[in-house]
Protein backbone atom coordinates (compact mmCIF):
# COMPACT_ATOMS: atom_id res chain seq x y z
CA UNK A 1 0.00 0.00 0.00
CA UNK A 2 1.26 3.49 -0.81
CA UNK A 3 2.84 5.65 1.84
CA UNK A 4 0.30 8.27 0.73
CA UNK A 5 -2.33 6.29 2.59
CA UNK A 6 -0.57 7.08 5.81
CA UNK A 7 -0.17 10.72 4.79
CA UNK A 8 -3.86 10.87 4.02
CA UNK A 9 -4.75 9.59 7.46
CA UNK A 10 -4.67 13.15 8.74
CA UNK A 11 -6.48 14.58 5.75
CA UNK A 12 -9.90 15.76 6.90
CA UNK A 13 -11.31 15.05 3.42
CA UNK A 14 -10.76 11.33 3.88
CA UNK A 15 -12.72 9.63 6.59
CA UNK A 16 -13.27 6.27 4.97
CA UNK A 17 -11.98 4.41 1.95
CA UNK A 18 -11.78 6.24 -1.38
CA UNK A 19 -13.99 3.66 -3.09
CA UNK A 20 -16.15 1.04 -1.43
CA UNK A 21 -18.77 -1.21 -2.97
CA UNK A 22 -20.97 -3.88 -1.48
CA UNK A 23 -22.80 -6.39 -3.64
CA UNK A 24 -22.76 -4.11 -6.67
CA UNK A 25 -24.99 -5.51 -9.40
CA UNK A 26 -25.92 -4.31 -12.87
CA UNK A 27 -28.49 -6.00 -15.05
CA UNK A 28 -29.42 -4.83 -18.54
CA UNK A 29 -32.44 -5.71 -20.58
CA UNK A 30 -30.97 -7.19 -23.74
CA UNK A 31 -32.72 -8.50 -26.83
CA UNK A 32 -32.23 -12.05 -25.59
CA UNK A 33 -33.34 -11.33 -22.03
CA UNK A 34 -31.62 -9.93 -18.97
CA UNK A 35 -27.84 -9.50 -19.19
CA UNK A 36 -26.04 -9.78 -15.85
CA UNK A 37 -23.07 -7.52 -16.54
CA UNK A 38 -21.92 -7.14 -12.91
CA UNK A 39 -22.90 -9.79 -10.36
CA UNK A 40 -22.13 -8.63 -6.85
CA UNK A 41 -18.82 -6.75 -6.76
CA UNK A 42 -17.28 -5.96 -3.38
CA UNK A 43 -14.34 -3.56 -3.55
CA UNK A 44 -12.42 -1.42 -1.12
CA UNK A 45 -9.86 1.07 -2.38
CA UNK A 46 -7.92 3.00 0.24
CA UNK A 47 -7.28 6.71 -0.09
CA UNK A 48 -4.03 7.46 -1.86
CA UNK A 49 -3.79 4.17 -3.74
CA UNK A 50 -3.40 3.56 -7.42
CA UNK A 51 -5.85 0.74 -7.83
CA UNK A 52 -5.87 -1.36 -10.99
CA UNK A 53 -9.08 -2.98 -12.21
CA UNK A 54 -8.38 -5.67 -14.77
CA UNK A 55 -10.44 -8.09 -16.77
CA UNK A 56 -10.98 -9.47 -20.24
CA UNK A 57 -13.28 -7.74 -22.71
CA UNK A 58 -16.87 -7.83 -21.51
CA UNK A 59 -15.91 -8.82 -17.95
CA UNK A 60 -17.72 -5.87 -16.39
CA UNK A 61 -14.85 -3.39 -15.91
CA UNK A 62 -16.34 -0.43 -17.70
CA UNK A 63 -19.83 -1.17 -16.41
CA UNK A 64 -18.49 -1.09 -12.85
CA UNK A 65 -16.66 2.17 -13.50
CA UNK A 66 -19.74 3.72 -15.08
CA UNK A 67 -21.78 2.84 -12.00
CA UNK A 68 -19.10 4.27 -9.69
CA UNK A 69 -18.97 7.48 -11.72
CA UNK A 70 -22.78 7.96 -11.68
CA UNK A 71 -23.09 7.42 -15.43
CA UNK A 72 -25.04 4.21 -15.03
CA UNK A 73 -27.78 3.34 -12.58
CA UNK A 74 -27.10 0.63 -10.01
CA UNK A 75 -29.41 -2.40 -10.12
CA UNK A 76 -28.62 -3.37 -6.53
CA UNK A 77 -25.90 -3.02 -3.93
CA UNK A 78 -24.17 0.14 -2.80
CA UNK A 79 -21.22 2.18 -3.98
CA UNK A 80 -19.46 4.96 -2.11
CA UNK A 81 -16.81 7.22 -3.58
CA UNK A 82 -14.92 9.60 -1.28
CA UNK A 83 -17.44 8.87 1.47
CA UNK A 84 -20.46 9.65 -0.70
CA UNK A 85 -23.15 7.20 -1.77
CA UNK A 86 -23.12 7.64 -5.55
CA UNK A 87 -26.68 6.36 -5.92
CA UNK A 88 -28.17 8.67 -3.32
CA UNK A 89 -26.08 11.82 -3.76
CA UNK A 90 -24.74 11.71 -7.31
CA UNK A 91 -24.06 15.45 -7.56
CA UNK A 92 -22.02 15.48 -4.35
CA UNK A 93 -20.10 12.44 -5.57
CA UNK A 94 -19.44 14.13 -8.94
CA UNK A 95 -17.80 17.05 -7.15
CA UNK A 96 -15.35 14.66 -5.47
CA UNK A 97 -14.36 12.55 -8.46
CA UNK A 98 -12.68 13.10 -11.78
CA UNK A 99 -13.52 10.94 -14.76
CA UNK A 100 -11.57 10.17 -17.92
CA UNK A 101 -13.30 7.42 -19.83
CA UNK A 102 -12.21 5.20 -22.71
CA UNK A 103 -11.26 7.05 -25.88
CA UNK A 104 -10.92 10.59 -24.56
CA UNK A 105 -14.38 12.13 -24.71
CA UNK A 106 -13.66 15.60 -26.03
CA UNK A 107 -15.44 18.11 -28.23
CA UNK A 108 -13.34 18.38 -31.40
CA UNK A 109 -14.77 21.80 -32.31
CA UNK A 110 -13.53 23.52 -29.18
CA UNK A 111 -9.96 24.53 -28.49
CA UNK A 112 -8.15 22.87 -25.61
CA UNK A 113 -8.43 26.05 -23.58
CA UNK A 114 -12.15 26.47 -24.27
CA UNK A 115 -12.81 22.89 -23.24
CA UNK A 116 -10.98 23.31 -19.93
CA UNK A 117 -12.62 26.66 -19.20
CA UNK A 118 -16.04 25.15 -19.91
CA UNK A 119 -15.28 22.20 -17.66
CA UNK A 120 -14.21 24.59 -14.88
CA UNK A 121 -17.43 26.57 -15.31
CA UNK A 122 -19.44 23.35 -14.98
CA UNK A 123 -17.77 22.93 -11.60
CA UNK A 124 -19.13 26.35 -10.60
CA UNK A 125 -15.93 28.40 -11.01
CA UNK A 126 -16.19 32.07 -11.94
CA UNK A 127 -15.03 33.02 -15.46
CA UNK A 128 -11.78 34.49 -14.07
CA UNK A 129 -11.04 31.45 -11.90
CA UNK A 130 -11.89 29.14 -14.77
CA UNK A 131 -9.45 30.93 -17.09
CA UNK A 132 -6.71 30.81 -14.48
CA UNK A 133 -7.27 27.13 -13.65
CA UNK A 134 -7.35 26.22 -17.35
CA UNK A 135 -3.98 27.90 -17.85
CA UNK A 136 -2.53 26.01 -14.86
CA UNK A 137 -3.73 22.70 -16.23
CA UNK A 138 -2.49 23.44 -19.74
CA UNK A 139 0.94 24.06 -18.29
CA UNK A 140 0.68 20.92 -16.21
CA UNK A 141 -0.01 18.67 -19.18
CA UNK A 142 2.31 20.59 -21.49
CA UNK A 143 -0.37 21.80 -23.91
CA UNK A 144 0.16 25.56 -23.68
CA UNK A 145 1.34 25.88 -27.27
CA UNK A 146 -1.63 23.93 -28.61
CA UNK A 147 -4.11 25.51 -26.22
CA UNK A 148 -5.84 27.74 -28.76
CA UNK A 149 -5.99 25.19 -31.54
CA UNK A 150 -9.10 23.11 -32.13
CA UNK A 151 -8.98 19.69 -30.53
CA UNK A 152 -9.73 17.86 -33.77
CA UNK A 153 -6.13 18.61 -34.79
CA UNK A 154 -4.61 17.09 -31.64
CA UNK A 155 -2.71 13.78 -31.66
CA UNK A 156 -4.00 10.84 -29.63
CA UNK A 157 -1.50 11.54 -26.87
CA UNK A 158 -2.43 15.22 -26.70
CA UNK A 159 -6.12 14.34 -26.51
CA UNK A 160 -5.47 11.90 -23.69
CA UNK A 161 -3.46 14.50 -21.74
CA UNK A 162 -6.20 17.08 -22.27
CA UNK A 163 -8.80 14.56 -21.12
CA UNK A 164 -6.73 13.95 -17.99
CA UNK A 165 -6.48 17.69 -17.40
CA UNK A 166 -10.25 18.09 -17.81
CA UNK A 167 -10.79 15.42 -15.16
CA UNK A 168 -8.61 17.41 -12.76
CA UNK A 169 -10.22 20.86 -13.00
CA UNK A 170 -11.80 20.59 -9.55
CA UNK A 171 -8.90 18.78 -7.86
CA UNK A 172 -10.87 15.56 -7.35
CA UNK A 173 -10.21 13.24 -4.44
CA UNK A 174 -10.64 10.17 -6.60
CA UNK A 175 -9.71 9.96 -10.28
CA UNK A 176 -11.27 7.26 -12.47
CA UNK A 177 -9.28 6.39 -15.57
CA UNK A 178 -10.91 3.89 -17.90
CA UNK A 179 -8.26 2.36 -20.13
CA UNK A 180 -6.26 5.58 -20.30
CA UNK A 181 -3.57 4.29 -22.65
CA UNK A 182 -5.60 2.23 -25.10
CA UNK A 183 -4.57 3.14 -28.63
CA UNK A 184 -1.55 5.21 -27.62
CA UNK A 185 1.94 4.69 -28.94
CA UNK A 186 4.60 3.58 -26.41
CA UNK A 187 6.01 7.09 -25.95
CA UNK A 188 2.59 8.61 -25.28
CA UNK A 189 1.81 5.73 -22.95
CA UNK A 190 4.90 6.53 -20.89
CA UNK A 191 3.82 10.17 -20.68
CA UNK A 192 0.40 9.13 -19.37
CA UNK A 193 2.01 6.81 -16.82
CA UNK A 194 4.14 9.71 -15.60
CA UNK A 195 1.03 11.88 -15.33
CA UNK A 196 -0.82 9.23 -13.35
CA UNK A 197 2.12 8.89 -10.94
CA UNK A 198 2.37 12.66 -10.58
CA UNK A 199 -1.37 13.04 -9.94
CA UNK A 200 -1.23 10.27 -7.37
CA UNK A 201 1.86 11.92 -5.86
CA UNK A 202 -0.29 14.95 -5.13
CA UNK A 203 -2.58 12.75 -3.08
CA UNK A 204 -5.33 11.80 -5.52
CA UNK A 205 -6.57 8.23 -5.38
CA UNK A 206 -6.47 6.68 -8.84
CA UNK A 207 -8.87 3.95 -9.93
CA UNK A 208 -7.55 2.63 -13.21
CA UNK A 209 -8.97 0.05 -15.57
CA UNK A 210 -6.66 -1.46 -18.10
CA UNK A 211 -6.19 -4.47 -20.31
CA UNK A 212 -2.43 -3.96 -20.30
CA UNK A 213 -0.98 -6.14 -17.58
CA UNK A 214 2.42 -4.49 -17.59
CA UNK A 215 0.69 -1.16 -17.05
CA UNK A 216 -1.01 -2.53 -13.96
CA UNK A 217 2.24 -4.06 -12.75
CA UNK A 218 4.11 -0.77 -13.21
CA UNK A 219 1.55 1.61 -11.81
CA UNK A 220 -0.73 -0.05 -9.34
CA UNK A 221 -0.40 -0.53 -5.59
CA UNK A 222 -3.18 -3.10 -5.67
CA UNK A 223 -5.25 -4.74 -8.34
CA UNK A 224 -8.51 -6.59 -8.68
CA UNK A 225 -9.38 -8.92 -11.55
CA UNK A 226 -12.99 -9.15 -12.65
CA UNK A 227 -14.34 -11.93 -14.83
CA UNK A 228 -17.93 -12.70 -15.69
CA UNK A 229 -19.06 -9.79 -13.54
CA UNK A 230 -17.38 -11.09 -10.37
CA UNK A 231 -14.10 -10.26 -8.65
CA UNK A 232 -11.88 -13.32 -8.99
CA UNK A 233 -8.59 -12.01 -7.54
CA UNK A 234 -7.60 -9.03 -5.40
CA UNK A 235 -4.30 -7.98 -3.84
CA UNK A 236 -0.96 -6.38 -4.60
CA UNK A 237 0.71 -7.60 -7.79
CA UNK A 238 3.42 -9.21 -5.66
CA UNK A 239 0.90 -10.97 -3.40
CA UNK A 240 -1.00 -12.36 -6.35
CA UNK A 241 2.14 -13.65 -8.03
CA UNK A 242 3.39 -15.33 -4.84
CA UNK A 243 0.00 -16.88 -4.18
CA UNK A 244 -0.01 -18.41 -7.65
CA UNK A 245 3.60 -19.59 -7.33
CA UNK A 246 2.89 -21.31 -4.03
CA UNK A 247 -0.43 -22.77 -5.13
CA UNK A 248 0.98 -24.25 -8.33
CA UNK A 249 4.41 -25.05 -6.88
CA UNK A 250 6.22 -23.10 -9.60
CA UNK A 251 10.00 -22.76 -9.53
CA UNK A 252 10.01 -19.25 -10.96
CA UNK A 253 7.88 -16.30 -9.96
CA UNK A 254 4.95 -16.07 -12.38
CA UNK A 255 4.16 -12.88 -14.25
CA UNK A 256 0.98 -10.87 -13.84
CA UNK A 257 -0.07 -12.37 -17.17
CA UNK A 258 0.03 -15.81 -15.55
CA UNK A 259 -2.02 -14.52 -12.62
CA UNK A 260 -4.57 -13.05 -15.03
CA UNK A 261 -4.81 -16.22 -17.09
CA UNK A 262 -5.16 -18.37 -13.99
CA UNK A 263 -7.78 -16.07 -12.51
CA UNK A 264 -9.91 -15.94 -15.64
CA UNK A 265 -9.55 -19.63 -16.45
CA UNK A 266 -8.00 -18.90 -19.79
CA UNK A 267 -4.93 -20.23 -21.57
CA UNK A 268 -2.54 -18.20 -23.67
CA UNK A 269 -3.86 -19.94 -26.77
CA UNK A 270 -7.49 -19.20 -25.99
CA UNK A 271 -7.02 -15.55 -25.22
CA UNK A 272 -4.94 -14.51 -28.17
CA UNK A 273 -6.27 -11.08 -28.98
CA UNK A 274 -7.84 -10.60 -25.57
CA UNK A 275 -4.83 -10.14 -23.31
CA UNK A 276 -2.33 -7.71 -24.68
CA UNK A 277 1.13 -7.12 -23.34
CA UNK A 278 2.92 -3.84 -23.81
CA UNK A 279 6.52 -2.89 -23.62
CA UNK A 280 6.45 0.83 -23.24
Amino acid sequence: MSKLVAQRAGDPRFVGPAVETHGLVKHYKGRDGVVEAVRGVDLRVEAGEIFGFLGPNGAGKSTTVRMLTTLLSITSGTARVADVDVGREPDVARRRMGVALQEAGLDPRQTGRELLVLQCRLFAMSPADAASRAQQLLELVDLVEAADRRIKGYSGGMKRRLDLASALVHEPQVLFLDEPTTGLDPASRLVVWEEVRRINGHGTTVFLTTQYLEEADQLCDRIAIIDGGRIVREGTPAQLKIELQVRLGLDEEPSLDDVFLDATGRTRERVAGVVREVGA
Binding site: L72, A104, G105, L106
Partner: protein
Protein backbone atom coordinates in the same frame (compact mmCIF):
# COMPACT_ATOMS: atom_id res chain seq x y z
CA UNK B 1 -29.78 29.09 -15.57
CA UNK B 2 -26.04 29.88 -15.59
CA UNK B 3 -25.13 26.26 -16.38
CA UNK B 4 -27.74 26.24 -19.13
CA UNK B 5 -26.31 29.42 -20.60
CA UNK B 6 -22.71 28.15 -20.35
CA UNK B 7 -23.72 25.02 -22.26
CA UNK B 8 -25.87 27.06 -24.64
CA UNK B 9 -22.90 29.26 -25.54
CA UNK B 10 -20.87 26.19 -26.26
CA UNK B 11 -23.65 24.89 -28.56
CA UNK B 12 -23.71 28.24 -30.40
CA UNK B 13 -19.94 28.14 -30.83
CA UNK B 14 -20.31 24.64 -32.23
CA UNK B 15 -22.91 25.83 -34.77
CA UNK B 16 -20.86 28.82 -35.88
CA UNK B 17 -17.81 26.63 -36.36
CA UNK B 18 -19.71 24.31 -38.64
CA UNK B 19 -20.82 26.59 -41.49
CA UNK B 20 -21.24 23.55 -43.74
CA UNK B 21 -24.14 22.52 -41.48
CA UNK B 22 -25.50 26.05 -41.10
CA UNK B 23 -25.56 27.21 -44.71
CA UNK B 24 -28.04 24.59 -46.01
CA UNK B 25 -30.55 25.85 -43.46
CA UNK B 26 -30.59 29.09 -45.46
CA UNK B 27 -29.92 27.82 -48.96
CA UNK B 28 -32.53 25.05 -49.16
CA UNK B 29 -35.48 27.14 -47.88
CA UNK B 30 -34.51 29.94 -50.27
CA UNK B 31 -34.30 27.37 -53.07
CA UNK B 32 -37.87 26.23 -52.34
CA UNK B 33 -39.05 29.84 -52.21
CA UNK B 34 -37.61 30.54 -55.65
CA UNK B 35 -38.88 27.28 -57.16
CA UNK B 36 -42.40 27.60 -55.75
CA UNK B 37 -42.59 31.21 -56.86
CA UNK B 38 -41.40 30.23 -60.32
CA UNK B 39 -43.97 27.45 -60.60
CA UNK B 40 -47.04 29.18 -59.22
CA UNK B 41 -46.25 32.90 -59.35
CA UNK B 42 -48.21 33.41 -62.58
CA UNK B 43 -51.17 31.35 -61.39
CA UNK B 44 -51.47 33.57 -58.32
CA UNK B 45 -50.66 37.17 -59.31
CA UNK B 46 -50.69 39.92 -56.72
CA UNK B 47 -54.33 40.62 -57.54
CA UNK B 48 -55.27 37.24 -56.06
CA UNK B 49 -57.53 37.79 -53.09
CA UNK B 50 -55.65 35.76 -50.49
CA UNK B 51 -52.35 37.55 -51.27
CA UNK B 52 -53.58 40.89 -49.92
CA UNK B 53 -51.78 42.82 -52.67
CA UNK B 54 -48.39 41.09 -52.26
CA UNK B 55 -46.87 38.54 -54.63
CA UNK B 56 -46.89 34.77 -54.19
CA UNK B 57 -43.43 34.79 -52.60
CA UNK B 58 -44.97 36.45 -49.55
CA UNK B 59 -47.43 33.56 -49.30
CA UNK B 60 -44.62 31.01 -49.60
CA UNK B 61 -42.16 32.65 -47.19
CA UNK B 62 -43.69 31.02 -44.06
CA UNK B 63 -43.11 27.56 -45.55
CA UNK B 64 -39.48 28.43 -46.14
CA UNK B 65 -39.12 29.85 -42.63
CA UNK B 66 -40.60 26.72 -41.09
CA UNK B 67 -38.36 24.56 -43.22
CA UNK B 68 -35.30 26.55 -42.14
CA UNK B 69 -36.31 26.09 -38.52
CA UNK B 70 -36.77 22.36 -38.96
CA UNK B 71 -33.29 21.13 -39.78
CA UNK B 72 -32.57 20.03 -36.21
CA UNK B 73 -28.79 19.99 -36.65
CA UNK B 74 -28.36 20.58 -32.91
CA UNK B 75 -29.71 17.08 -32.31
CA UNK B 76 -27.14 15.65 -34.70
CA UNK B 77 -24.41 17.46 -32.78
CA UNK B 78 -25.83 15.86 -29.63
CA UNK B 79 -25.48 12.42 -31.22
CA UNK B 80 -21.86 13.29 -32.05
CA UNK B 81 -21.31 14.17 -28.38
CA UNK B 82 -22.87 10.87 -27.32
CA UNK B 83 -20.92 8.78 -29.82
CA UNK B 84 -17.66 10.59 -29.11
CA UNK B 85 -17.98 10.28 -25.33
CA UNK B 86 -18.17 14.02 -24.62
CA UNK B 87 -21.76 13.71 -23.45
CA UNK B 88 -20.56 11.35 -20.71
CA UNK B 89 -17.92 13.92 -19.76
CA UNK B 90 -20.69 16.49 -19.36
CA UNK B 91 -22.86 14.01 -17.47
CA UNK B 92 -20.05 13.28 -15.03
CA UNK B 93 -19.98 16.94 -13.98
CA UNK B 94 -22.27 18.17 -11.17
CA UNK B 95 -24.50 20.10 -13.56
CA UNK B 96 -28.28 19.81 -13.24
CA UNK B 97 -29.42 17.20 -15.76
CA UNK B 98 -31.94 19.72 -17.05
CA UNK B 99 -29.15 22.05 -18.17
CA UNK B 100 -27.67 19.32 -20.35
CA UNK B 101 -30.73 19.39 -22.62
CA UNK B 102 -31.90 22.96 -22.04
CA UNK B 103 -28.50 24.36 -23.02
CA UNK B 104 -28.97 23.20 -26.59
CA UNK B 105 -32.57 24.41 -26.69
CA UNK B 106 -31.55 27.89 -25.50
CA UNK B 107 -28.88 27.95 -28.20
CA UNK B 108 -31.55 26.94 -30.71
CA UNK B 109 -33.64 29.98 -29.79
CA UNK B 110 -30.70 32.28 -30.52
CA UNK B 111 -29.82 30.44 -33.71
CA UNK B 112 -33.46 30.37 -34.82
CA UNK B 113 -33.78 34.13 -34.33
CA UNK B 114 -30.68 34.70 -36.45
CA UNK B 115 -31.79 32.39 -39.23
CA UNK B 116 -35.29 33.92 -39.32
CA UNK B 117 -33.90 37.45 -39.57
CA UNK B 118 -31.54 36.48 -42.38
CA UNK B 119 -34.33 34.70 -44.27
CA UNK B 120 -36.63 37.71 -44.07
CA UNK B 121 -33.79 39.96 -45.26
CA UNK B 122 -33.06 37.57 -48.13
CA UNK B 123 -36.75 37.61 -49.04
CA UNK B 124 -36.98 41.41 -49.29
CA UNK B 125 -35.64 41.52 -52.90
CA UNK B 126 -38.63 39.37 -53.89
CA UNK B 127 -40.85 42.35 -53.09
CA UNK B 128 -42.04 40.95 -49.78
CA UNK B 129 -42.83 43.25 -46.90
CA UNK B 130 -44.12 42.46 -43.41
CA UNK B 131 -47.58 44.01 -43.41
CA UNK B 132 -47.95 43.83 -39.63
CA UNK B 133 -45.05 46.26 -39.11
CA UNK B 134 -42.07 46.12 -36.79
CA UNK B 135 -43.92 44.39 -33.96
CA UNK B 136 -45.18 41.87 -36.50
CA UNK B 137 -41.62 41.35 -37.72
CA UNK B 138 -40.48 40.64 -34.16
CA UNK B 139 -43.34 38.19 -33.66
CA UNK B 140 -42.51 36.57 -37.00
CA UNK B 141 -38.92 35.80 -36.06
CA UNK B 142 -39.86 34.87 -32.48
CA UNK B 143 -42.45 32.35 -33.67
CA UNK B 144 -39.99 30.85 -36.13
CA UNK B 145 -37.30 30.56 -33.44
CA UNK B 146 -39.74 28.93 -31.02
CA UNK B 147 -40.77 26.44 -33.68
CA UNK B 148 -37.06 25.61 -34.09
CA UNK B 149 -36.94 24.79 -30.37
CA UNK B 150 -40.00 22.53 -30.68
CA UNK B 151 -38.45 20.70 -33.58
CA UNK B 152 -34.99 20.34 -32.07
CA UNK B 153 -36.66 19.18 -28.87
CA UNK B 154 -38.37 16.45 -30.89
CA UNK B 155 -35.10 15.51 -32.63
CA UNK B 156 -33.24 15.48 -29.31
CA UNK B 157 -35.72 12.94 -28.01
CA UNK B 158 -34.85 10.65 -30.90
CA UNK B 159 -31.12 11.33 -30.36
CA UNK B 160 -31.27 10.53 -26.63
CA UNK B 161 -33.39 7.45 -27.20
CA UNK B 162 -31.55 5.92 -30.15
CA UNK B 163 -28.06 7.49 -29.76
CA UNK B 164 -27.84 7.03 -33.51
CA UNK B 165 -27.11 9.68 -36.13
CA UNK B 166 -28.93 7.68 -38.80
CA UNK B 167 -32.10 7.30 -36.71
CA UNK B 168 -32.04 10.95 -35.67
CA UNK B 169 -31.56 12.07 -39.25
CA UNK B 170 -34.44 9.89 -40.42
CA UNK B 171 -36.61 11.29 -37.64
CA UNK B 172 -36.12 14.72 -39.16
CA UNK B 173 -37.86 13.60 -42.32
CA UNK B 174 -41.13 13.43 -40.40
CA UNK B 175 -41.40 17.15 -40.98
CA UNK B 176 -41.91 16.84 -44.71
CA UNK B 177 -45.32 15.11 -44.56
CA UNK B 178 -46.33 17.62 -41.88
CA UNK B 179 -45.23 20.52 -44.08
CA UNK B 180 -47.28 19.24 -47.02
CA UNK B 181 -50.38 18.46 -44.96
CA UNK B 182 -50.83 22.20 -44.53
CA UNK B 183 -52.29 25.04 -46.59
CA UNK B 184 -48.86 25.19 -48.13
CA UNK B 185 -49.78 26.39 -51.62
CA UNK B 186 -53.25 27.83 -51.11
CA UNK B 187 -55.34 28.90 -48.08
CA UNK B 188 -57.05 26.14 -46.08
CA UNK B 189 -60.55 26.86 -47.44
CA UNK B 190 -59.32 26.18 -50.99
CA UNK B 191 -58.00 22.69 -50.18
CA UNK B 192 -59.95 19.56 -51.08
CA UNK B 193 -62.07 18.34 -48.19
CA UNK B 194 -59.77 15.47 -47.12
CA UNK B 195 -56.73 17.76 -47.24
CA UNK B 196 -58.58 20.45 -45.34
CA UNK B 197 -59.43 17.96 -42.59
CA UNK B 198 -55.82 16.74 -42.46
CA UNK B 199 -54.52 20.31 -42.33
CA UNK B 200 -56.95 21.19 -39.56
CA UNK B 201 -55.55 18.40 -37.39
CA UNK B 202 -51.94 19.27 -38.25
CA UNK B 203 -50.46 21.67 -35.67
CA UNK B 204 -47.99 23.02 -38.24
CA UNK B 205 -50.96 24.55 -40.06
CA UNK B 206 -51.60 27.02 -37.24
CA UNK B 207 -47.96 28.06 -37.04
CA UNK B 208 -47.86 28.55 -40.79
CA UNK B 209 -51.10 30.54 -40.80
CA UNK B 210 -49.82 32.75 -37.99
CA UNK B 211 -46.60 33.47 -39.85
CA UNK B 212 -48.54 34.11 -43.05
CA UNK B 213 -50.97 36.50 -41.40
CA UNK B 214 -48.05 38.50 -39.96
CA UNK B 215 -46.58 38.87 -43.47
CA UNK B 216 -49.75 39.46 -45.48
CA UNK B 217 -52.06 41.27 -43.10
CA UNK B 218 -52.11 43.78 -40.34
CA UNK B 219 -52.12 42.17 -36.90
CA UNK B 220 -54.74 39.40 -36.83
CA UNK B 221 -54.42 38.48 -33.19
CA UNK B 222 -56.58 35.38 -33.39
CA UNK B 223 -54.27 33.77 -35.94
CA UNK B 224 -51.11 34.97 -34.18
CA UNK B 225 -52.18 33.70 -30.78
CA UNK B 226 -53.22 30.36 -32.27
CA UNK B 227 -49.71 29.98 -33.71
CA UNK B 228 -48.02 30.92 -30.46
CA UNK B 229 -50.44 28.69 -28.56
CA UNK B 230 -49.54 25.66 -30.66
CA UNK B 231 -45.83 26.35 -30.40
CA UNK B 232 -46.10 27.01 -26.65
CA UNK B 233 -48.01 23.80 -25.99
CA UNK B 234 -45.72 21.67 -28.14
CA UNK B 235 -42.68 23.40 -26.62
CA UNK B 236 -43.79 22.55 -23.09
CA UNK B 237 -44.41 18.93 -24.11
CA UNK B 238 -41.01 18.64 -25.80
CA UNK B 239 -39.13 20.20 -22.88
CA UNK B 240 -40.89 17.93 -20.38
CA UNK B 241 -40.19 14.84 -22.49
CA UNK B 242 -36.53 15.88 -22.87
CA UNK B 243 -36.19 16.36 -19.11
CA UNK B 244 -37.77 12.99 -18.47
CA UNK B 245 -35.46 11.35 -20.99
CA UNK B 246 -32.26 12.86 -19.57
CA UNK B 247 -33.24 11.96 -16.01
CA UNK B 248 -33.60 8.31 -17.02
CA UNK B 249 -30.59 8.29 -19.36
CA UNK B 250 -28.31 5.37 -18.53
Amino acid sequence: MSYTWVLGRRALREALRTPEALLPTLFIPMFFLVVNLGQAGKIFPSTTGFLDGQNYAAFQLPSSMLLAASFGTAALFLVEDIEGGYFDKLRSSPVPRTSLVLGRLVAEVVKGLGIAVVLVLLALPFGIHVASGFVGFLLLIALTALWAVVYVGFMQLIALKTRSAAATNSGGLIFFPLLFLTPNFVPRHMLTRPMEVAATFNPVTYVMEALRSLILQDMVWGRVLAGFGVVGALGVVMVLLNLRMIRHYD
